[in-house]
Subunit: 313 residues, 2 copies
């Protein structure tokens, strides 16, 4: 089983307007779509689509949290989250007829020290039952920036691979606990390096190598439509996705992480794992819904993924 | 017991921004407040504050509907609503630092013919247990415009006073069933008359008289801060509220209706009932929260309400 962690879960609502979004007006929403959101939940959805049994955890609060749990259950995803007082946040995306989008992100509930401690106990129990653990996304209020470092330490103690995908301080502190996999994009890599990184393979490779050398098993730097650079202690690859007509790339990074985790759990080679991750990320971009991967698309895209071994050093 | 009907209930959320609401941006919400909303729910809150036992009914759906029910229960309001598939809608009010407000109104669930029939059965049972019934607000999708007329007919059959506060076609069709009380504002009165009505007592009085003459027991035309004109078959009053520093008049009309219903239920004179309604409406305007009436404010305001008998005709 794959355990996916979503500390800052959300209900993602899309409001489609028939008119322009004009501040000061009363605006009737023509269509409303709601899905459970948060990067770790996207990972759970994509990994489930790839045929993996998944347990989702994190914090869920109130009726909004119960709605998220129900939706996950309906998709065949197990869910054992830490209940917290208050309501799981809602993120609203306003879509206008001309395609312009405006997002409103609710602050979400505060996490008490007690709920955090209860979650750590719950996490350890769930990680023990899991074969690998993904941790994704930002933190809710009052959760310390070293939370991922704490979770990774638990994974290491239990001998469970930990895959980390976050940004800012939680990433900076998380990598010190030496997760098995990190998947920064160029901006996140720049945050870690303290300088902007251009999308040039040589620089990206050097930075990924430096990070890997600290003791991280696999560093994958995602380059959007240009694919990703993957570095282990004895190999480096540039993995290049097939060219497609993208509908929405939102959630493609999460689908990539799902592919990495599923490939690892299946004992696939690094090459095949990178191919699966890239096919899953590309398949996600074929749909408007975030984290929605169709397995037929993955099968069709897999043979089109190109893998270029980079010079060893 | 007072029965309040809210067919189009909502979760009213207020998003306070620390920055301007700029379309196209990702906006973090600094503070989020949620309250159960819908005009009939405001009536229920205000009547409860006036010391009246209240049962709220209408349609509620999903986790959002259960949240509304929980909040009402926590306020001491009984709730027996018709469950419907889908989620009770959310209405979002975006408040910027400069005070500008933007509202997004979700469409809410469709009401099936079956749910509507079940509601009519439920309503008859609840109305039988009640001493008076208020009906407030707009209709959810697929509910016919004669719904209030149907509910009023049930009330008349059971001998329960029916107080109607709505607008547009539901008001137009509702008055044909001859409710005991209607409370149009100037705009709604204009809709009924087919012409704009100026806030001049003579014209308002004439229109209210014409409506009352069709067989409506009490016609109260609300004039905002200028009070209201109330017409029965043998009397007419202009009721004038105390001058206050208003914080938010939203919900004052609902609090007025609550005061009318409570005064009637207590067997008060028309004069005292109008005074109570006006004091409740004024008390509501002292608070930012819609439908929030403090009984101490009502007691303090009551002696300041002025009542002017208008010439009989």
């Amino acid at each position: 089983m794959l355990l996916t962690v979503t500390l800052n879960a959300a209900i993602d609502k899309t409001y489609t307007l028939a008119c322009a979004n004009t501040p000061g007006d009363v605006l009737r929403v023509q269509d409303m779509q709601a899905t459970p959101g948060g990067k770790g939940i996207n990972v759970a959805k994509a990994a489930t689509a790839l045929g993996q049994r998944v347990m989702a955890t994190g914090f869920l609060g109130g009726h909004a949290g119960r709605w998220v749990q129900e939706q996950l259950t309906a998709e065949g995803i197990l869910c054992d989250a830490q209940p917290v007082p208050g309501q799981t946040r809602t993120c609203i995306n306003i879509v206008e007829p001309d395609g312009r989008q405006t997002e409103f992100l609710e602050p979400g509930p505060e996490i008490s020290a007690e709920a955090l401690n209860d979650f750590l106990v719950r996490f350890e129990r769930l990680a023990r039952e899991a074969c690998a653990v993904t941790m994704s996304g930002s933190l809710p209020r009052s959760v310390p920036n070293d939370i991922y470092a704490q979770l990774i330490a638990i994974c290491k103690r239990l001998g469970r691979p930990a895959l980390l995908d976050t940004s800012g301080a939680p990433l900076q502190q998380g990598i010190r606990a030496l997760p098995d996999v990190i998947k920064p994009n160029l901006q996140e890599l720049g945050q870690l390096m303290g300088r902007p990184i251009a999308c040039e393979t040589a620089d990206v490779l050097a930075c990924a190598q430096a990070l890997q050398a600290t003791g991280i098993g696999l560093v994958v730097v995602s380059l959007g439509a240009k694919g990703a650079v993957a570095v282990t202690h004895d190999a480096a690859f540039h993995v290049i996705p097939p060219q497609i007509e993208a509908v929405s790339a939102t959630g493609s990074g999460d689908s990539f992480l799902a592919g990495l985790a599923v490939g690892m759990l299946r004992g696939q080679t690094l090459r095949d794992t990178l191919r699966l991750a890239t096919a899953a990320a590309t398949a996600n971009a074929l749909n408007i819904e975030t984290g929605r991967v169709h397995i037929e698309d993955v099968h069709a895209l897999l043979p089109q993924v190109k893998l270029r071994q980079m010079p060893a050093w």
